[in-house]
């Protein structure tokens, strides 16, 4: 018994030492942490799909065939900043994670971004919307892909105001994202000559929006701006139809709408909604090929959202930078600097670049949800209204309040 336990102790020690020396000799080891809402209201737009997108990016990079060892772990932040921060700390300190991806929920993303900077890791954000990540809260370790509240505000907000929707009332999710989206949209609406009549803040993950919708109805605003996301948005849209808001002449602006939301609502309820996204699966051969592979491997056979696409594209770009640097993937700021040097080019978002404040710029699109008669089958939901060029879709550099720019 005693000899056996000593033997096993020796064996463990030997293995640990071997593992340690292996890690030391081979500096082509990367660990990716997919931090998301795995089970709550944002799980369909990010969640397990983002982990899958990360896996696909690793496989498609071909790096594992060139001697790299790349692992992915997933975490559930449950939309709570404190939990997100704890996971991030543990990932950096114990699990030796190099890069964190996704992080929907702006409150969590802002908190995690601070840890990432402190630990000199990398945050490739796709899921969170707040434009603060590349403005007042920017860091040399964060890159913001996919979209932000500025994009949504200037896409949907400006377009609707110019089309005659010149008075707005906001139904806002009561946390960092909702506040940022309301602020940015208000600016866009006012710049386009509209005015904001008021707003109401609803707690995150509310089941019944009728009280808030009645207040919006009473405001007599032409446009009711939904500054929320995920299941909150689908519930508000569904209940707005029920209370006769849309048939009463007021128009809903779903400022952030994902394809999984449209799928969940059904075309009957969602038809005619205008919204802004930067990715749709049926744009070109590249997006269709990616989406088809994604859908086959996704457990519930959903199409990828733009958040999933952003996780894939940002990681693919990260791998390009790793390859260019040749090894030692543990200095976050250095890799991010390299990522900013290389122009972005992928099948999902097209050609673009990463600005010094960490904002990736690429075109955005104003879509309209098809009528049931126009849709050819499942997931054929969007028609393109207009394309917003990359330089108009995101905060202009001279207006960015990112401290990194003042040198």
């Amino acid at each position: 018994m005693k000899t056996k336990s000593i033997a096993s102790l020796l064996l463990t020690t030997a293995l640990t030492l071997a593992a340690a020396s292996l890690a030391h000799a081979d500096d082509k080891v990367v660990k990716i942490g997919a931090l998301s809402d795995q089970s709550g209201l944002y799980a369909d737009l990010g969640g397990p799909g983002s982990t899958l997108a990360a896996q696909m990016a690793v496989e498609d990079s071909g790096l594992t065939g060139k001697g790299w060892k790349i692992d992915i772990i997933a975490g559930d932040h449950q939309n709570k900043p404190d939990i997100g921060v704890n996971i991030a700390r543990q990932w950096f300190d114990v699990d030796k994670v190099d890069v964190i991806v996704d992080v929907p929920n702006s409150g969590v993303a802002l908190a995690v971004s601070n840890i990432v900077k402190e630990k000199n890791g990398i945050l490739l954000n796709s899921g969170a919307g707040t434009s603060d990540l590349t403005n007042s809260q920017c860091t040399p370790n964060t890159i913001h892909w996919t979209y932000d509240t500025y994009t949504l505000a200037h896409g949907t907000g400006s377009a609707l105001t110019k089309n005659g929707g010149d008075s707005w009332f906001f139904l806002t999710a009561d946390y960092a994202f909702g506040a940022a989206l309301e602020r940015d949209t208000t600016a866009a609406v006012q710049a386009a000559g509209g005015k904001v009549l008021g707003g109401v803040k609803a707690p995150l993950s509310t089941a019944d929006f009728s009280s808030f919708l009645l207040q919006a109805q009473a405001s007599k605003a032409k446009i009711i701006g939904l500054a929320n996301a995920g299941a909150d948005t689908t519930n508000s849209i569904k209940q707005a139809a029920e209370f006769g808001i849309t048939s009463g002449g007021q128009k809903l602006a779903a400022l952030l709408l994902f394809i999984t939301d449209v799928h969940s609502l059904g075309l009957n309820t969602a038809q005619g909604l205008n919204f802004t996204e930067t990715f749709y699966w049926d744009m070109n051969d590249g997006t269709r090929a990616f989406a088809k592979r994604f859908q086959e491997r996704m457990k519930n056979h959903n199409m990828p959202t733009m958040v999933h696409a952003g996780v894939y594209a940002s990681l693919s770009h990260y791998f390009k930078a790793l390859e260019a640097l040749g090894g030692n993937p543990h200095d976050g700021a250095k890799i991010v600097a390299k990522m900013k040097e290389i122009p972005t080019d992928d099948a999902l978002f097209g050609k673009g670049s990463i600005q010094p404040n960490g904002r990736t710029i690429h075109p955005a699109y104003l879509f309209e949800v098809k009528k049931p008669s126009e849709s050819k089958g499942p997931w054929d939901y969007y028609k393109l209204v207009s394309t917003i060029p990359a330089d108009e879709a995101f905060t202009p550099l001279d207006k960015s309040t990112c401290p990194l720019l003042k040198k």
Partner: protein, 287 residues
């Protein structure tokens, strides 16, 4: 002032769901002494069964109102027979833990297959549209929910407090041995009671399907509030849970108007206050 009327009415609508769910919990706690944490998951199953009935078998909403509570009720009775039965006489904590675990498993399974965004279920044709009440536009479906759940609540109260069957049930909880001596099958009665409580949850699920999305998490979001309602009303009190359900819906509705940011917490603030002043709940009897 008009806006206030509208908020009161909306509160009443939400209160209907609270009342139906807390009533089921009260029935189960009163008769089985089990704190049924699986209630939210069973409510969610009720909505999903309605969705399946419509999309797989073309069975409409009206039949779903009947079939879904039966299906979920039978599922509940199987749970009771195979698992909960063994907890009779043990501390409340065991029942709570077991049902909480069951809730997590059921929810996890649904989430695995259906994600979190939910599935659409539309309002039945007969209840579409709305009426203009002057101070607000009332969707007919919402009005139906209030009336229907009020009728169901009162019928359940009548069944338990005013009929012979109800008297047996209440007697069986007081002294099972004696009731058994009269030739009444007490274990079967308990199983049926659990089925009834669960069926009420499923019924609430079907009612809410056209209003909310049919989502795996719809129960988890609601159940905590419902538990607060039960605690405020007093565990095991049938009428107490009905009245508290409706009343708290109204209070929550008013909060959404005057201070919307607090609308998710107001129920818990009330719960704390009630517990401080009267730990047995407003209508509860001392244990």
């Amino acid at each position: 002032m008009q806006a206030l009327y509208a908020q009161l009415l909306v509160g009443l609508i939400n209160g209907s769901f609270y009342a139906l769910l807390s009533l089921g919990l009260a029935v189960i706690f009163g008769m089985l002494n089990i704190i049924n944490f699986a209630h939210g998951a069973l409510y969610m199953m009720g909505a999903f069964v309605a969705y399946f009935l419509l999309n797989l078998f073309g069975i409409n909403y009206w039949w779903a109102l009947l079939i879904s509570p039966l299906v979920v009720g039978i599922f509940g009775m199987i749970l009771e027979r195979t698992m909960l039965k063994w907890l009779t006489g043990l501390d409340h904590l065991y029942g709570l833990l077991l049902t909480f675990g069951l809730a997590l498993i059921i929810q996890g399974v649904f989430q695995n297959y259906f994600g979190s965004s939910g599935l659409p279920y539309s309002i039945p044709d007969q209840l579409r549209g709305g009426m203009n009440l002057g101070f607000m536009f009332l969707p007919i479906y919402r009005g139906w929910v209030v009336v229907f759940s009020l009728v169901v609540c009162l019928a359940t109260w009548f069944l338990i407090e005013r009929t012979r069957l109800g008297a047996y049930l209440r007697a069986a909880t007081e002294n099972p041995t004696l009731v058994r001596a009269f030739g009444i099958n007490v274990p079967r009665m308990i199983t049926l009671t659990y089925g009834l409580g669960v069926g009420l949850a499923a019924l609430a699920g079907v009612l809410s399907a056209p209003i909310n999305q049919v989502r795996p998490l719809m129960g988890a979001d609601l159940i905590i509030v419902v538990f607060a309602v039960v605690v405020i009303g007093g565990m095991g009190s049938i009428m107490g849970s009905i009245i508290t359900g409706f009343a708290l819906g109204v209070i929550e509705g008013l909060t959404k108007y005057f201070y919307p940011e607090a609308s998710n917490t107001v129920v818990f603030v009330l719960m704390v206050l009630v517990l401080l002043v009267k730990p047995t709940g407003l209508t509860g009897r001392a244990a």
